[in-house]
């Protein structure tokens, strides 16, 4: 803002500058006229002086020898110059010798005038001495008219006119500058007003942002509260079951009774349900471990036909419209869960019976369209689950995917179903939308991107790797040595006990540093069973260093954090990752599988 201010200040200087210029021009014009006049006078004086000297030199002899007629002739000759008004010769003593006067011009004085040369009343009087051989003999007097004043005025008038025109131009420029300055001032004030408005707007925006941030924060807190409240509620129920049964078990054992299997069963059941809850929470948080494979949704739906019909019951007609032929990439088991869950939701919305439609279609999006405005253009497979049940209000529809939000009575639903589905679809890079009106049914639409990679051509689904694991029932040779690294003592104790029960030799360590010491020692180790997150060195590091030193050693990593992936290099080396919570039986199966592979490298 500094430069425009200086600029405007300069503009404001315009009028005084213009005035000064006009004054300067007038003064310069006057000076020019004055100088011109002086120069003209000087020139005239010089001219007449030359004429006077010519006359003086020709008339000298006549003057010396007192020849008036001759002198008169010379003087009369001056009449040829019309500017000469009078001419005269004065002798050595200044007395008039001869003279010539034109018309009614002023007579030369009888005595030589002392004040020549001079200019007065438009007359120019010049004298010149008559000299012959350096002797002064007398004086010549010449009186001429100067250029008429009117003519000079005319000449100076042109100069004056030029000065006037220049002054006028400068004055006009000055006036223009004044006008421009005013416009600038107005612009400046407008700009200032605009800047003010902008500042106000900015402040309002900031205030609004603060309000929105506060709103977001409160919504987040509400969601977290709902989530944690829901988890606590579910877990409290389950913990009550587990604790109650364990207490009963303890009591019965103290009483010496042996018919306690049902208590253990009930406790295990509660724990399984708890594990199921955490699995669903992980699905919602899009952190469940997925095994995506090329899948044709139409085929998947066809295969689920019986299961679906059984699940929804006889009162509801199930119709499938399976037009999709493109492949998608997703976890097949989870996808089945999704369809089943949605079908069950629809069933619950149609207690009086109704119709359930499951629809698949290939869809090419040329441009983003509602309701999937954030889906980029491309090929998709659309899966819709449609019912003509109770539907939901707009408010319910909007909160439907919030975790632990449920419209079902206490104890009938976890409120995790739709949020789990939403999380899964998002994790599979798909899009999810619920379309519903109260009393008119619900339509759940999902888009999954078309898959065109390897395996898409193979119509047969890839065999599940778990199958081969499950098949391996061979026991490995006993006395294999297993290094168990786990910082959580209870978990470690559990794992160590389970492994030992299988007949392995176990070395246990609680942190990465001491585990490294073991790996660097000469002790023989067949299997490293390690948590990923450890104090000291983490599980990846232990696996890397251990396998570098012991190429034959197998590694089984465990983690409670599903965002811990297996690094590429470790995955290639055949490392298996177990996600907590896992069943101890799985642990044993995997450990045996790895050790068997170690014994017999030909088996993959």
């Amino acid at each position: 803002m500094k430069e425009p201010a200086t600029f405007i200040k300069l503009w404001r200087l315009g009028p005084p500058i213009a005035l000064a210029t006009v004054v300067f021009l007038i003064v310069a014009g006057a000076a020019m006229i004055f100088y011109n006049e002086q120069a003209y006078r000087q020139q005239k004086l010089d001219e007449v002086g030359v004429q006077a000297r010519i006359l003086s030199s020709t008339v000298s002899a006549a003057l010396v020898f007192d020849d008036r007629p001759a002198a008169q002739e010379y003087v009369n000759a001056m009449a040829a110059n019309f500017e000469v008004r009078a001419a005269a010769i004065y002798d050595q003593n200044g007395a008039l010798f001869v003279d010539y006067v034109r018309g009614n011009a002023e007579m030369p004085p009888a005595q030589l005038p002392p004040d020549a040369p001079r200019i007065e009343n438009g007359r120019l009087v010049v004298t010149a001495p008559v000299i012959e051989g350096q002797s002064a003999l007398g004086t010549v007097y010449l009186q001429t008219i100067t250029e008429p004043f009117a003519r000079r005025l005319e000449r100076y008038g042109i100069i004056g006119l030029l000065v006037f025109m220049a002054s006028l131009i400068v004055a006009v420029l000055g006036a223009a500058q004044v006008a421009l300055g005013r416009v600038n001032q107005e612009l400046e004030s407008r700009a200032a007003a605009l800047a003010d408005a902008n500042r106000q707007l900015q402040r309002q925006i900031q205030e609004r942002e603060l309000v929105q941030e506060a709103l977001r924060q409160s919504q987040k807190m509400e969601a977290i509260g709902q989530l944690s409240g829901g988890i606590a509620h579910d877990f409290n129920n389950l913990l009550t079951i587990v604790m109650g049964n364990l207490q009963l078990l303890q009591k019965r054992l103290a009483e010496g009774r042996t018919d306690v299997a049902q208590y253990v069963e009930f406790a295990m059941d509660g724990l399984n349900r708890a594990a199921n809850v955490t699995q669903r929470i992980l699905a919602f948080s899009r952190r469940q471990p997925l095994a995506p494979n090329p899948v044709k949704l139409s085929r998947l739906t066809t295969e689920m036909g019986d299961l679906l019909r059984q699940s929804v019951g006889a009162g509801i007609a199930v119709e499938t419209r399976l037009a999709a032929d493109w492949w998608t990439l997703c976890d097949e088991n989870q996808m089945e869960n999704v369809i089943l869950n949605l079908a069950i939701n629809s069933r619950d919305a149609m207690p009086e019976g109704g119709k359930l439609v499951i629809e698949t279609a290939d869809l090419h999006l040329a441009r983003p369209e509602a309701p999937f405005a954030d889906a980029p253009p491309g090929d998709y497979v659309r899966l819709s689950v449609i019912d003509n049940g109770a539907g939901m209000s707009e408010e319910v529809r909007r909160r439907a995917i919030d975790p632990f939000f449920t419209t079902k009575p206490q104890g009938q639903g976890t409120g995790l179903g739709l949020s789990m589905i939403f999380g899964f679809i998002q994790q599979s890079k798909g899009y999810f939308h619920i379309d519903s009106k109260l009393g008119e049914g619900t339509r759940v639409i999902m888009l999954l991107p078309r898959y065109q990679g390897d395996g898409a051509v193979d119509d047969a689904a890839a065999p599940a790797p778990a199958a081969s694991v499950a098949r391996s029932q061979d026991r490995p040779a006993k006395k294999s040595t297993v290094l168990v690294v786990e910082d959580e003592e209870l978990v470690r104790t559990l794992v160590v006990e389970t492994i030992r029960d299988e007949g392995f030799t176990v070395i246990e360590r609680a942190d990465g540093t001491s585990a490294l010491d073991v790996l660097n020692s000469e002790v023989e180790i067949d299997l490293l069973l390690s948590d990923v997150r450890l104090p000291g060195a983490n599980g990846y590091k232990l696996a890397e260093i251990g396998m570098a030193r012991r190429p034959q050693m197998k590694v089984l990593l465990m983690t409670g954090f599903t965002q811990d992936p297996i690094p590429e290099n470790l995955a290639r080396a055949g490392i298996i990752m177990l996600y907590k919570p896992y069943k101890l039986g799985d642990l044993v199966v995997y450990a045996n599988q790895l050790l068997k592979a170690k014994r017999d490298p030909a088996t993959p």
């Binding site: 007192d66 001759a70 051989g133």
Partner: protein, 181 residues
């Protein structure tokens, strides 16, 4: 310029008095002629070898019976032509090589005007005669009276023979010269 002309001469010469009457006053006539004599000097150019230096005097000689007397001495006194003073000599006869630049020849019984002229003919001397009627007795300059005024004739040819150059301004004032031209 520095020369102060005696008041008497000034009165005779320049007063706007009427010119001398027919019964002219001889004294006035000669007073005018006396001043004319040295005034010829600025209009005449002598050969360069005539003067030894730039301040050598111009010598005015009166040959024969002097008609001027003290009048001439007064007229010449203190006069200069440029840096040259005017020197006055009187001599009874014209002598060749007498180193006169201007010679007024009045003549005498012993040497008439014509003889005197003949004596200096061929030397750079401006000879002046007074009212000679016959041509052989006329100097280069010959005073005449015209319209009751003192005028003069100039024989420019004789001047040229004597290696003198006379200013055209002077020639234009000469009576005969004017008539001749």
């Amino acid at each position: 310029m520095r020369a102060a002309v005696p008041v008497l001469i000034a009165v005779f010469l320049f007063a706007r008095a009427p010119p001398p009457a027919s019964a002219q006053d001889t004294a006035l006539e000669f007073a005018v002629k006396a001043t004319y004599l040295y005034k010829f000097a600025p209009f005449v150019e002598w050969p360069p070898q005539t003067f030894r230096s730039a301040t050598d005097a111009i010598t005015l000689c009166v040959v024969g019976d002097d008609p001027f007397g003290a009048m001439l001495d007064q007229a010449v006194a203190g006069q200069h032509v440029g840096d040259r003073p005017i020197a006055l000599r009187r001599m009874p006869m014209a002598v060749r090589g007498a180193s006169c630049q201007i010679m007024f020849i009045a003549g005498s019984r012993a040497q008439p005007v014509a003889d005197a002229l003949a004596a200096v003919r061929g030397t750079p001397v401006l000879t002046v005669t007074d009212r000679s009627p016959e041509s052989r007795a006329k100097g280069i300059v010959n005073f005449v009276i015209q319209d009751n005024r003192v005028r003069f004739e100039i024989d420019n040819q004789a001047a040229a023979q004597d290696r003198l150059v006379i200013s055209s301004k002077l020639l234009s004032l000469a009576v005969l010269g004017r008539a001749n031209e």
